[in-house]
Amino acid sequence: MRLSRDTAAFRLISHPSGAIGLILLILVAAMAVSAGWLFPAGPWTMVGAPRVWPGADPRFPLGTDSMGRDILTELFYGSRVSLAIGIVSALVSLVFGTLVGAIAGYYGRWIDDLLMRLTDAVQTIPSFLAAIAIVGVIGPSLTTITIAIAIVSWPMIARLVRADFLKLRSLDFVQSCRIIGMSDLRIIFTQILPNCLAPIIVSSSVLVATAIIVEASLSFLGLGDPNVMSWGTILNVGRQELRSGWYMTAIPALALVVTVLALNLISDALNDSLNPRLKERS
């Protein structure tokens, strides 16, 4: 299949930061996919002496952590969990935020007031503290962490979608849909929503990045799921050795930086390529 020159996809990969971001992200995704195949023993196996520095033993190019687990293996498996948590919680908050924003923006009046005050209320709570509180109360597991991240990150999407709906609902094409008797739901989902997808898509990649960071931060504080190997889990084990073995913290941190950077670059490129007014700029 050939890409035509004026599609958004083409603009994305020909955009310099988009290309770099995509390559990095594909690398991380490849780590996630190949983990089970490259390291069939799994991330928890204690394969060597604890606290082997990177390079000291050729069997462990990135060293071992304080439990004698291979950090390279942990990194590969960790990418699975970190990406999964990022994507799932971003999806959940995307769906919920879009619904709230669409309903509020489309119907206006008291529904708008109600939903926006709810959004305000959630937004006034510092999101990371709220995530700590939720996980602290319910107990850390993959599901609670995902839900906690979704709960604190949907208001941004809701505000974005509402603003677009407010603008679009008074336009002529929406009015004409109403006149021909289209149902509200159909107007919302088939007419207005496709027209405000651009900002949603752009912010969703930032959302994934934020979710990955929040999960890592929670794990760093010891609030991660102890039964899954995420980059945050590696960080949490490494943090206790910060003074004597900084590499245990630095390596997963680097992986986080690269992934979040990739997502942000992609988000930038998406913004440029989806925004028709900026078409000529790149």
């Binding site: 928890w44 439990m67 107990g139 084990v237 050795e241």
Partner: protein
């Protein structure tokens, strides 16, 4: 630079040598100090503690910071030399009757409270009967047998016991049983008495200033009964929340010593390897604690002894001791802490060395073959969130048990929920935690094995639900046995049976360490260490 250093050292050791030859008898009593050092008087000791104290009086709480602060300002009846050998403090001499039910203490007659009032036997009677037996967390059980304290004269106190209680004689130091002034507390609401934060004691230090949440400053008590002590002028204790900040304060010289393992083990070892610091592992005989794992015997699979033996064979306690505890401890061998001399023994006690093959074979025999997924059954493991060591150890245990086909899920919760899950709801299969083992097995160890201490709702009781009449009888006999040789035999038999039945897997007998700048001298001179008065501590600068 190095030249002038060695010059001063030479001059100093020369001078010290001269003075030591003149003052030989006193130099011998200085405990850990090398004989060739001259004691210097005065100076201020800076240290740090966490969390902030609620009271400054350890008679009504067992919290850690109070346990450090209170003994500086209050005295106990006795002190303990290495090996928990009793020595005099407020009591000059003491005498246990043949049946072990009357203990007579002859008290010092030259002791005054910080407010000038004389100290008498009435204070002793009041403290034990009205305070320690009522408000102290462990005092309720330690002094359960104590029915009255008679005071035939002002300087004699006679403890009358329902039954002999040899453990009690190990709990009379200033941390565990500080003597409070009856004239301040009598007839008041003891928990609400203002003296709880403005202590009036008999100890070598008096409270100079207390800024809630920030620091406590204590100054020398010039009228202290023990002539020549304390050696310091002041002691400043700052409350610092963050462990790595505390470590940095020691390295930068902001504090002179860190007691009670107030910094993580890896930092203690790292700093101890630097020049200018000394580490001391002694002086924690009254603060013994261990890491262990309860098997919930109400679980149908864990109720089988072979399964518990298999799990024990899969866990290398030495690995955990070396890597989770950084070698500050001894691999667990019996229910007792290795420091609980003379009762601890490994003679004839079953051991479970790492042997995955044997573990697998035991599980096959027990009737739990590997299913198609390779796993035999699954278990829930609850680690205590107190410190990070139990959580870290649970990660090791999960991986080891996976090797023998047991799928373990680790459930981390906050401390209150952990206690509720394990001891109230009993929803655990395995519970991994650290706990105090007590100055005597009766106080610290018995609770985990005695069937009478299976009390849902009570934290750190018999969480395994172990019930063996033979063990009950041995523990009960040992608790009241006056003859020490017989007591040792009772506990030896208990250790053998408990390690065969294995309701609890002992993982590590934790060792603690004090880390101090090398100019801090004599901070540990007996079994109690920094939980004592520190009146003998001096600064060589």
């Amino acid at each position: 630079m190095s030249k002038s250093n060695s010059m001063t050292l030479n001059r100093r050791s020369f001078l010290a040598g001269v003075s030591a030859s003149a003052l030989l008898p006193s130099a011998l009593t200085f405990g850990t100090s090398a004989a060739a050092e001259t004691v210097k008087m005065g100076g201020i000791l800076h240290t740090t503690m966490w969390p902030t104290p609620t009271y400054l009086n350890a008679a009504i709480t067992t919290a850690g910071t109070e346990a450090f602060l209170s003994p500086k300002m209050f005295d106990g009846l006795l002190g303990y030399d290495y090996g928990m050998k009793p020595k005099g403090s407020l009591a000059r001499e003491w005498n246990v009757s043949e049946d072990g039910q009357r203990i007579t203490f002859k008290l010092r007659d030259d002791v005054k409270w910080h407010d000038g009032e004389p100290f008498t036997a009435k204070d002793v009677a009041f403290t034990f009967m009205e305070v320690l037996k009522v408000f102290h967390g462990r005092g309720k059980t330690t002094f359960a047998a104590l029915s009255a304290v008679e005071t035939p004269d002002d300087h004699t106190a006679v403890f009358v016991l329902d039954k002999p209680s040899p453990a009690m004689m190990r709990a009379l130091d200033s941390r565990e049983s500080p003597i409070l002034p009856a004239h301040i507390y009598e007839g008041t609401d003891i928990m609400a008495n203002p003296a709880n934060v403005k202590p009036i004691g008999t100890g070598p230090f008096k409270l100079a200033a207390y800024e809630i949440g920030a620091n406590v400053v204590m100054e020398k008590n010039p009228d202290y009964w023990d002539e020549g002590y304390p050696r310091l002028d002041r002691m400043v204790v700052q409350f610092i929340a963050d462990g790595s900040t505390r470590a940095a304060m020691l390295e930068s010289g902001e504090v002179d010593a860190i007691f009670f393992n107030m910094i993580p083990a890896q930092d203690i070892l790292r700093i101890a390897a630097e020049p200018g610091f000394v580490m001391e592992k002694r002086g924690f005989e009254t603060m013994l604690s261990s890491q262990q794992m309860d098997f919930n015997l109400d679980h149908p699979i864990l109720a089988k002894k072979e399964v518990r033996h298999a799990i024990a064979h899969a866990i290398d306690t030495k690995w955990i001791t070396d890597n989770i505890w950084y070698g500050l401890g001894k691999p667990g061998k019996t229910p007792l802490h290795a420091g609980q001399t003379p009762f601890f023994t490994t003679e004839g006690v079953p051991a479970y060395p790492l042997d995955l093959e044997k573990a697998n074979a035991l599980l096959d025999e027990a009737g739990y073959p590997r299913k198609n997924g390779g796993m035999r059954f699954s278990l829930m493991l609850d680690p205590s969130p107190w410190g990070t060591e139990s959580i870290n150890a649970s990660s090791y245990v999960r991986e080891q048990l996976r090797q023998i086909g047991i799928a373990v899920t680790v459930r981390t919760q906050d401390f209150a929920l952990f206690v509720k899950t394990v001891y109230t709801d009993r929803k655990h299969d395995l519970a991994l935690y650290t706990a105090a083992m007590g100055v005597d097995p009766t106080i610290g160890v018995q609770r985990f094995y005695d069937s009478h201490s299976f009390k849902p709702g009570v934290g750190f009781s018999n969480g395994a639900h172990y019930d063996n009449p033979k063990v009950d009888a041995l523990l009960e006999a040992a608790a009241t046995e006056v003859d020490e040789a017989k007591r040792i035999e009772d506990y030896a038999e208990f250790q053998r049976i408990a390690m065969e039945d294995l309701p609890v897997l002992k993982i590590t007998d934790i060792e603690m360490a004090t880390i101090a700048a090398d100019y801090v001298k004599d901070f540990t001179v007996d079994a109690i260490g920094a939980a004592g008065s520190l009146k003998q501590l001096w600064l060589d600068q």
